[in-house]
Symmetry: C3
Subunit: 220 residues, 3 copies
């Protein structure tokens, strides 16, 4: 059942990169919310590890990587320390949160889908769990910060769609036996690019209230 | 340890029905909260699958049914699409949320208790986990929607009591070896009826603040 | 890997004591938030069992103790009933929440670290999970009560530090093979004392915004 989709070190480096960028996004939100230094560390840890922790509990990979790999635990603390000392001026913070979050979204969607498939889930379920891995940390971050998660707000630019595209690309690459470092990178960069374009041009999803012709997007 | 309390297809149909009605309640709340189409889908999925996911993680049934049965994943999307296109006028929404929620409450309380017992929990723990299965999705729904969960609000009509009655009825039926489709249906309908009566006549639970004679309800 | 760090009955008594005091803190917050009697019971259960449930899911101890030991389930109900009938006047409530919470913080940090280590986690991960066990219930409590968790608020007195000190003491005692009832009690009382001192003298952690010299605390 297990496949060597990546060499362990590449998988590990991708995981750490995703953890780092999500932790930055969590720490920056904590700064914006005026949390103290421990709040910054907590929100960095939760944002970085929450999605993967959920994935590992669901697939039965216990204890989760977050608690067996010291690097997973320490990386968010490094990110929190960086933000604590070097965070940009207040006006730049929201942009920083968004760009780092977009990178984490791509990385986690692809590695989450891959790991779920390695543990025997079907392709659709793997993509769904990859999506949950990607957005889970951010939802937990917003819930702890006592905000309505960006994920579900109509006045926020597209967030679920880019992660969905990346996770589905990874699932398709798996199905056609084409998943490797290059195709994974393509899926990650596609997610990142779509999210940044959505931010740049304020692409938004429709609300039920004002029924629009674009409403068919729900079917995908 | 495992008992054939239901035929698999009946159990499955009951599960899908509970998932569907909870998803409707989540999607309707998302509409009321003005979420976008993805927010509607997310809240439908979380409300429908959250309680069962929690139950499956607790009893060690991993990967949870939510990720192994494609129908469990797709049903909330169907419910979200229905709400997206056909949701009633704004005034009717709260009633819709409440009625569908009452049906899900009954279905999940009974199936949750049954599944917990099948996995070897004691009768009291099974009833408690059945209750958690029934109310868990709604609590998650309200937490993501950034509201105080209906479950704990004093100004909301009785919610925990009907689910508790249904879960305890299921546990008693199990104890006396009387659990079958008919008795399960009785427990579900009892929950549903008590919840609707509570809504109709605004039955409420006492608060500690104003100590009342009805305060003994805590002992049950 | 498993060690008999405590006799089972001592471990059990410590667990029940921690559960009881956390349940009191949850029930008191529910009274302050004006929840009904079921909201009081729910918040008592969640605050008392949430951290341990998270710990058990992470280390794969399923079904979690919360669902196999009837005492774990009933103790919060007793606490909720006590608070329901005997809760002090409104002015005293916040103090009560804080003192009981401090006791639970110490007990759960130490028992959480110990149990995580017994299940094979490394010392650092054990201390981290002990910390999560200690603060997890309170974070869930605040999230359900729709408040920003005390844990991350800059205007609240030190909360994470005392639990961190206690969990690290327990980890060090384990490393040097010195963990017993006496040293455990020392770790618990140290946590409790630091937390009460922090409350008394309003010790607070710095925010990133106003960079202060104390900012190096993040490194520990």
């Amino acid at each position: 059942m297990l496949q060597d989709l990546f060499t362990p070190s590449v998988q590990h480096a991708l995981d750490l990169a995703g953890i780092f960028v999500f932790a930055i996004s969590g720490a920056l939100l904590a700064v914006r919310k005026n949390f103290d230094v421990f709040g910054i560390a907590v929100l960095a840890e939760v944002t970085a590890l929450g999605g993967g922790l959920f994935r590992d509990l669901v697939i039965g990979a216990v204890p989760p990587a977050a608690f067996t790999d010291l690097g997973y635990f320490l990386t968010p603390l490094v990110a929190a320390a960086l933000v604590f000392f070097l965070h940009p001026q207040v006006e730049r913070i929201q942009t920083g949160v968004n760009v780092f979050d977009a990178a984490g979204l791509g990385l986690f969607g692809v590695t989450g889908t891959t790991k779920a498939y390695e543990y025997g889930l079907g392709l659709t379920a793997s993509a769904a769990l990859g999506l949950a891995t990607a957005v889970g940390g951010g939802v937990l971050r917003d819930m702890i910060a006592n905000e309505v998660p960006s994920l579900v707000r109509w006045d926020r630019d597209l967030y679920a769609v880019p992660a969905m595209v990346g996770a589905c690309m990874a699932a398709l690459f798996i199905q056609y036996d084409m998943l490797n470092v290059l195709t994974s990178a393509i899926a990650v960069v596609t997610t990142f690019a779509i999210r940044l374009l959505a931010l740049r041009f304020h692409w938004r999803a429709p609300r039920a209230w004002n029924r629009r012709s674009t409403a068919v997007e729900i079917d995908e």
